[in-house]
């Protein structure tokens, strides 16, 4: 994590077959920031992430990591370029143990740096240490969420994409995840998270982007969100 990192989405369009999901989405993330991508169900958050991770190719626009275009690369190259991805449905390897899930993901970072290893992970995620022999498929939702975040870190990414980390978790687990993200933020990990939960974002994020119907409708710092109450209510909640 030596250099100043910058992920930039420039006017990307994404379609699945006939239906277009993203319309000219532009996002910038600077090193060390924690950006929350907020939006309702179906607003395009997951698609944005999938585009960054290389799972779907944008039909227009560019995705740049440190000024190098990464759109069109295969997912493993994007991962090796320093982007860690935590999908919405977590996708643990259910039959592998917790530790094996972590080992599978082990790789040096884009610049050969190795910060995260099993020992450090267990320091940050003591819960995982206590369940390290258990099959990942048998973990609770919160434990799985911890595991996949840790798994993404094992690849020593410069940036991690977290898709709805609080979804479906009990409040106590949501709190734990929030604490964890804050800790990672302090450690200087760049994080992009997709969320519906506004309070959660206010707690952990430094920046907020709101997406609605495949278009960005708001970009702001998290502390200014109070000011945007009208907008947030309109695009996010009841």
């Amino acid at each position: 994590m030596s250099r100043a990192l910058k992920l930039e989405l420039r006017e990307i369009d994404v379609s699945y077959g006939a239906s277009q999901i993203l319309f000219g989405v532009s996002i910038e993330i600077e090193k060390g920031a924690t950006m929350a991508l907020l939006g309702r169900n179906g607003a395009g958050k997951t698609t944005t992430f999938r585009a960054i991770a290389g799972l779907v190719a944008p039909s227009a626009g560019q995705i740049l990591l440190n000024a190098k275009a990464i759109n069109g690369l295969s997912p493993y190259r994007i991962a090796r370029a320093g982007i860690g991805y935590v999908p919405e449905d977590r996708q643990v390897f259910p039959e592998h143990s917790v530790e094996d899930n972590l080992r599978i993901a082990k790789k040096p970072g884009a610049h050969r740096q190795v910060y995260w290893n099993l020992q450090r992970i267990y320091e940050v995620f003591p819960t995982l240490y206590s369940i390290r022999q258990r099959a990942a498929g048998r973990l609770s939702g919160g434990e799985q969420q911890m595991l996949v975040i840790a798994r993404a870190l094992m690849g020593n990414p410069e940036l991690i994409l977290l898709d709805e980390p609080s979804e479906g978790l009990a409040p106590i687990m949501v709190q734990q995840i929030a604490r964890l993200l804050l800790r990672l933020r302090e450690m200087g990990v760049t994080i992009v998270l997709a969320e519906q939960n506004l309070h959660f974002c206010q707690t952990v994020a430094t920046h907020v982007t709101i997406i609605d119907k495949g278009q960005i409708v708001l970009r702001d710092k998290a502390e200014n969100l109070e000011r945007d109450a009208e907008i947030t209510r309109r695009y996010l909640a009841v």
């Binding site: 239906s19 169900n41 979804e167 949501v174 929030a178 309070h199 959660f200 707690t203 009841v238």
Partner: protein, 254 residues
């Protein structure tokens, strides 16, 4: 009793997670009810349980005075319950008219007819009626997969309507639509309901819409009924607000 849907002590668990946890609900004949709740609240599971796609671990579903739990899905459809899906579930290569005619055939138990050509004139006429009802006449000849997103959702609802249901379940009829389209859609849904003497139950995320048209609202959270009542009552319920915006207690700084 025709058109009444009553759910008693319905429970369904997936592994350790309760998707429906002792749910008791009653929908009066001809009522229009919205079911809301955050992601993962168990709304779609509830529909799947009602429609017989999933078998509940416990509990009863009474449809027009008959407990339908354990009946095959097809039988429940034949007893007057039909549904549209969150992601429009269509027959991609069928034209709109073909799809509707096929649904009408299904309703009239003509789907197995071999000796006549599809569609039978009577079914075609009826399909036309449904088309007009939902306002898809203009795209009648288009392949379903080429329709716009909104029209696909509409066709999905039309397929359900073609079955002449007493109880209609709509799973997020406005999901993935633009603002304008949402209102048009919901207006149509409302009109259909008022014209058809239906018991209509819909899942919706757009709260403005819910409060605009629903007679009453049920809020699900973690498989439990969190609140029920008129839109106004529900809107003021602090538990509901917390469920939606996330527990304020979750934002404890470290």
């Amino acid at each position: 009793m025709q058109g009444r849907l009553t759910i008693k002590r319905l429970t369904k668990r997936f592994g350790g997670v309760a998707a429906a946890d002792n749910v008791n609900l009653d929908f009066a004949p001809g009522s229009l009810t919205a079911i809301i709740g955050p992601n993962g609240a168990g709304k779609t599971t509830l529909f799947n349980l009602i429609a017989g796609r999933l078998k509940p671990d416990a509990g009863e579903v009474w449809l027009s005075g008959e407990n339908v739990v354990g009946l095959p899905e097809v039988e429940i459809v034949r007893r007057g319950l039909s549904r549209a899906f969150q992601i429009a579930s269509l027959f991609p290569q069928f034209t709109v008219e073909q799809a509707l005619a096929a649904a009408v055939h299904a309703r009239w138990r003509q789907s197995h007819s071999i000796l006549r050509r599809f569609p039978l004139p009577s079914a075609r006429a009826r399909a036309r009626e449904v088309l007009e009802l939902v306002g898809l006449e203009a795209v009648a000849g288009q392949a379903s997969q080429q329709l716009s997103h909104g029209d696909q959702k509409l066709l999905d609802i039309a397929l359900a309507l073609a079955l002449e249901p007493r109880v209609l379940l709509l799973d997020e009829p406005t999901a993935g639509m633009g603002r304008e389209a949402r209102w048009q859609m919901i207006e149509k849904v409302h009109n259909l309901w008022s014209q058809q003497s239906l018991t209509l139950i819909f899942i919706e995320h757009d709260i403005d819409i819910v409060f605009q048209i629903a007679q009453s609202v049920r809020v699900l959270h973690y498989g439990k009924v969190l609140a029920e009542g008129s839109p106004r009552e529900v809107r003021g319920n602090p538990a509901v607000i917390e469920a939606y915006l996330g527990a304020t207690s979750a934002s404890v700084p470290v």
